[in-house]
């Protein structure tokens, strides 16, 4: 106990120096916590945006559709998939789509696109497409309406009410085509998505590619994302080998991998902050040791062994790290709370953020990982930084230390 007390008093011998190092640790913690929370928020938002814009939690296709998404690979009708989905616990809502690749032409230009035939009401409950409309209207249920991304409309040179011709390869091999009137323009979180995906009514899409009442895809939203594996296993079991049941993690492997790799990337960031802090600690503790060389000589002369002396210096550093971390974390949390509500407006970088599929307002997320990193990395770094000064003190010979001027 006395060593703890002694170490505590020692750090306040030079208040100014201790306060400076505490400020540097505090600033380091605030910077790392907020950056970590913001980056995590950004990565989670990228994933959530992909799920919410189109991908959903689980997709059902004919087996092989993921690798070969041709119109021939429609969902088998051997099972009443609608009823089956409705019977599986954990599924909140679903929609079905026809997906084909084709060309969309206007009077001025044409572009290769993904044509997505949707049930407007069901799709609006599963994705954010309806709320993404920025001009005109969402699909109303009338025939031959089309909703385009703003970027695609710009490229084609069409506006609301304008006409476009969609062409796609039909099931029997002929080229199906039809004229659509632009009902609305949407803007999602991803400018790349907006350039490619055009939405038309489900029946129009089925007619365009001559597939009757068949569909290419079911998109499902769960009540709870944690039930993903269980629901996937149930559907796979019930549907059989003729179907493929994919989670968003399987549909977006790169994005999910980047979320999983995020902790490792942040470790590099923490290492950089840690290196900056460690030099401050080494410097502070070395100065503190050099100022007390005679005192250490006396302590060793009166019988203090190396271990308690080493421990005392390590505790001094730990106090600095722990106090700085506690203050820094508290400050970070106070700053985090309003930012988590309002988000951080990065609209000045909107073009680059939208190309990555992130919104312009980022909502920081303080996960357990952020808290654990913040509360462990810097105190550990301060201990590391104190080892060299502590070893210096331990290696002092009592007499030469007492004589030190």
């Amino acid at each position: 106990m006395m060593i703890l007390q002694l170490a505590w008093r020692n750090i306040w011998r030079n208040t100014r120096r201790s306060v400076i190092i505490l400020i540097s640790v505090t600033v380091g913690i605030v910077a790392t916590v907020l950056t970590d929370a913001l980056n995590r928020g950004m990565v989670f938002q990228m994933l959530d945006n992909q799920i919410g814009t189109y991908v959903s939690h689980i997709q059902i296709h004919r087996a092989g559709f993921k690798d070969n998404p041709i119109i021939q690979n429609t969902v088998p009708q051997t099972i009443d998939v609608d009823s089956l989905i409705g019977s599986v616990a954990g599924i909140d809502r679903f929609t079905k789509r026809v997906i084909t690749f084709g060309i969309l032409s206007s009077a001025k230009n044409s572009s290769g696109i993904s044509i997505v035939g949707i049930d407007p009401e069901r799709e609006a409950r599963v994705t954010t497409i309806r709320s993404s409309i920025v001009q005109g209207e969402y699909l109303s249920g009338r025939e031959r309406e089309i909703v385009l991304g703003v970027k695609l409309a710009e490229k084609l040179g069409v506006g609301i009410g304008g006409k476009v011709v969609a062409m796609a390869s039909a099931l029997d091999g002929h080229i199906g085509s039809d004229v659509f009137r632009v009902a609305g323009l949407y803007e999602s979180f991803s400018s790349e998505f907006d350039k490619v995906f055009a939405y038309i009514p489900l029946t129009d899409a089925q007619d365009l590619v001559s597939i009757g009442n068949r569909v290419s895809e079911y998109a499902i939203i769960l009540h709870n994302r944690e039930e993903l594996q269980r629901v996937q296993a149930t559907l796979e079991s019930d549907l059989g080998d003729a179907f493929e049941v994919l989670t968003y993690a399987e549909i977006l492997p790169l994005l999910v991998m980047s979320v999983e790799m995020y902790d490792q990337m942040m470790l590099v960031f923490y290492a950089i902050i840690g290196i900056a802090v460690i030099f401050g600690i080494v410097n502070t503790m070395l100065m503190s040791v050099f100022e007390r060389i005679r005192e250490f000589g006396v302590l060793k002369a009166i019988g203090m062994k190396n271990r308690p002396l080493f421990l005392m210096i390590m505790i001094e550093a730990f106090y600095l790290g722990a106090i700085g971390t506690a203050v820094g974390f508290a400050l970070s949390y106070v700053l985090y709370l309003p930012l988590a509500q309002s988000g951080v407006d990065l609209s000045m970088f909107s073009d680059s953020l939208r190309s990555f599929g992130v919104g312009t307002v980022i909502y920081p997320v303080m996960t357990a990982g952020v808290v654990v990193n913040a509360l462990t990395v810097i105190p550990a770094v301060t201990l590391l930084g104190a080892i060299y000064p502590a070893v210096k003190a331990v290696r002092l010979e009592p007499m030469s230390a007492i004589r030190y001027v």
């Binding site: 106990m1 006395m2 060593i3 007390q5 002694l6 008093r9 020692n10 011998r13 005679r294 005192e295 006396v298 302590l299 060793k300 002369a301 009166i302 019988g303 203090m304 062994k305 190396n306 308690p308 010979e397 009592p398 007499m399 007492i402």
Partner: protein, 231 residues
Amino acid sequence: MEIIRTEKVEKVYDDNGIPVHAVKGVSMSLAKGDFTVIAGPSGSGKTTLLNLIGALDNPTSGKVFFEGVDLASKSKTELSTLRLKRLGFIFQAYNLIPVLSALENIEFTMMLSGIAESERHDRAIAMMKELGIGELANKRPNEMSGGQQQRVAVARAIVNDPSVVLADEPTANLDSATGSALLDLMQSMNAEREITFVFSSHDPQVIERGKKLLMMKDGAIDREESRDRHN
């Protein structure tokens, strides 16, 4: 009973490549209960000899025995334990720990010895009362006079019941009255507790109180004198 013995002890320092013979072949012995003064002019080697017999420094050649054991046979940790439990040190500059109160300074060596908190507290309080410094318990070194600090240093040195207390110029920073009172205190500790005191000093009032005097000159014992009683 012999407590400390040196055999042809030499200490040579390297002063920028020039060897300095601080102690030259000193052989001496101290018995339990001695009140010995190692005296001599500055540079005569008295402090170096004190450090050698206090296990604070290693001789270049020769041997130092403490209670019959050659100090060269002990590891650094064992020497730390010896200094902690068998020796007490009083320094010219008091050298109290500045961030601890007088009471905590006295408790500190007992804490290092592993004595329980309540026991060391009681012993430190009793020691302070015995030395007449009870009212200083909560004062930090910078709130005490030199004489008060040196009394606390004495208390720190003897509270662990050492066999020998080594005092390096303990009165050098004190006025003569304060120094005399401090010596009275140490003499009474010597008489009542049979603690062996070894001083390094050129202060006449220290020298005249020594039961045994080792007069050093140029690193060697020039004269050894035993006295039956204090002057």
